[in-house]
Amino acid sequence: MNGEPALTRAAADRDVKEKMVGVLLFACAALTIFVTASILFTLAYDTITFFGFEETTVVDFLTGLEWEPRNGHYGVWPLVSSTLVVTVVSALVAIPIGTAAAVYLSEYASPKVRSVIKPSLEILAGIPTVVYGYLALVYLTPWLRDIGLPLGTFNLFSASIMVGILIVPMVSSLSEDAMSAVPDSLRQAGYGLGATKYEVSTGIVIPAAVSGIFSSYILALSRAIGETMIVVMAGGLRTSLFDPFDPFGSLAGSGRTMTASMVNAVTSDATGGSPEYYSMFAIGLSLFVITFLMNLASNRIAARYREEYQ
């Protein structure tokens, strides 16, 4: 132990270790990119196969108002409209409730109350979506019919509300993180000027956290768009184009979302290799494009409103 310190060799050892750690970490990061790229490639490849059938064209797919694979109609709009309906209605449920819960947790709740409610909300996010679907079909829809709403057994309305409940924890948890990150000195300044708790929450904390709150909305909406199990179970599979002149009528009936249609393509009797089977890849790619655009928008918005704190 008393010998000359082996300066060079120890350093060289460390060098190798450092390099190995670097390579390992890079490999993990690269794997995610590789997987994403592979998924995209597969989707694109099979989409091309889909458009290779003679009864399918890109124009019909993107502009068609009918989805009737048996009759050779592959217009995606009924599916997209049902997906958008579910997204909008679930947002109407989740954004007010989620934001209000976030304000409560961040500004009003005592540490004790928060320590109970926050984990509970996060447990809500961990429940398998098939359970939500079951609750919507077996409890929510009958209950809504009991109070007089003219709903079908399968309907988009219950499905949307359940999707909304599913994404409340996403909105509240991420928004609460954004609000808690607002420096306390800003609240102090508000209280020092004689602001009430409500004025501080709405006039100072929310505007200061707006970029994070917006990101949470977009992420939650992306989740709603991609949600599958609830809409398959409670929303049914009948394709229907949303009628803007009878919005509630459209909501009260069954509707097939993009994701539901993809499930149908693999579980129904559509034979592998048929256009109906391959349609799920074209729908999948469309879905990917929509969520990708939303994430892009979310990043833009977050960057636009980001404020530098002290």
Partner: protein
């Protein structure tokens, strides 16, 4: 701004901001103080309490009316006592400095006045704080209304991530002021000696300003609703010397309209800007409270002298 600027630069800067009063004034007054002081040894180099001459050369008249009176004020955080029997009369239009070592209770005292301590669950207050003929800890006092009459400036500049205009107008907005908000914003920014620097960029973010400008913005925000008292909690401790000296100049002007209570850990600053100084020492006790010149030149208490000369703390 560069904090390593030489003292000469700093003086010049200060004179510049003071409307071009010639530098000789400053030097002359310092010399006068030295003469007036005769041979007595000074504990701290105390320039006369307002080292920067006013534009109009008048001396602020000292009021004998009390703005705030505390009686036997005890404050506890849980089991720990932060203030111990503090009784103090704070006079209108005075600049009252609160000094003392860390943890002596000076900031607690400040935050007890406008009940900012209410938000700390474990904080308990005993005794009276009289303001406007009322004990602010009476059950029927609304702390929100109280804080609208007592402005506060914090240790680090904390402008809202809003425009300069919205920052200053915030207090007016929440108080439902329906007069000419822009005029009030302009007045407050002028009082905070910031108007000339920001008048062309009122809609840009308050966070784009330098640290010193941000702190003056916070002062403008605090005085825009026209409070009676302005509390300042170490307002210059996060600023470079040039920015700090601008704030010091400003405090003297503010006292014309407001009663200013300032916590500082910088004894030279207390000596320069305040009329009266309260010295808190460990245990949250108010040890001595008197005219600033008296405290710094001839304190009654040996402990105060030891603290001021840097023997402890």
């Amino acid at each position: 701004m560069n904090p390593t600027e030489t003292p000469t630069d700093r003086t010049m800067k200060r004179v510049e901001t003071d409307g071009g009063v010639p530098m000789e004034d400053d030097q002359e007054s310092t010399a006068d103080a030295a003469k007036a002081d005769g041979g007595t040894e000074k504990l701290v180099d105390v320039s006369p309490s307002h080292s920067v001459p006013d534009d109009d050369d008048d001396v602020r008249t000292r009021s004998t009316e009390t703005a705030i009176t505390t009686r036997d004020l005890n404050v506890y955080y849980g089991d720990e006592q932060a203030l111990d029997g503090v009784s103090m009369d704070i006079y209108e239009h005075d600049v009252t400095a609160l000094i003392g070592p860390s943890g002596c209770g000076k900031s607690t005292f400040l935050r007890t006045i406008n009940r900012m301590n209410d938000m700390i669950d474990v904080c308990r207050v005993e005794g009276d704080v009289e303001f406007g003929g009322k004990n602010v800890y009476d059950d029927d006092v609304d702390p929100v209304a109280l804080r609208r009459k007592i402005g506060m400036v914090f240790q680090a500049p904390n402008p809202f991530p809003k425009s300069i205009r919205d920052n200053v107008a915030y207090g007016l907005k929440i108080q439902g002021y329906d007069g000419d908000v822009d005029a009030r914003v302009e007045k407050a920014l002028k009082s905070a000696a910031l108007w000339d620097e920001v008048k062309d960029q009122l809609d840009s973010s308050g966070l784009d300003l330098s640290g010193g400008q941000q702190q003056r913005l916070c002062i403008a925000r605090a005085i825009a609703p026209d409070p009676e008292v302005v509390l300042m909690d170490e307002p210059t401790s996060a600023l470079d010397p040039v920015a700090a000296s601008k704030i010091e100049d400003l405090i003297d002007d503010l006292a014309e309209e407001y009663t200013v209570i300032i916590v500082t850990h910088n004894m030279q600053q207390a000596a320069r800007i305040s009329d009266r100084t309260a010295v808190f020492l460990t245990g949250g006790r108010l040890v001595e409270y008197d005219d600033t010149t008296k405290i710094f030149e001839d304190p009654e208490e040996q402990r105060v002298e030891d603290y001021i000369t840097g023997k402890f703390g």
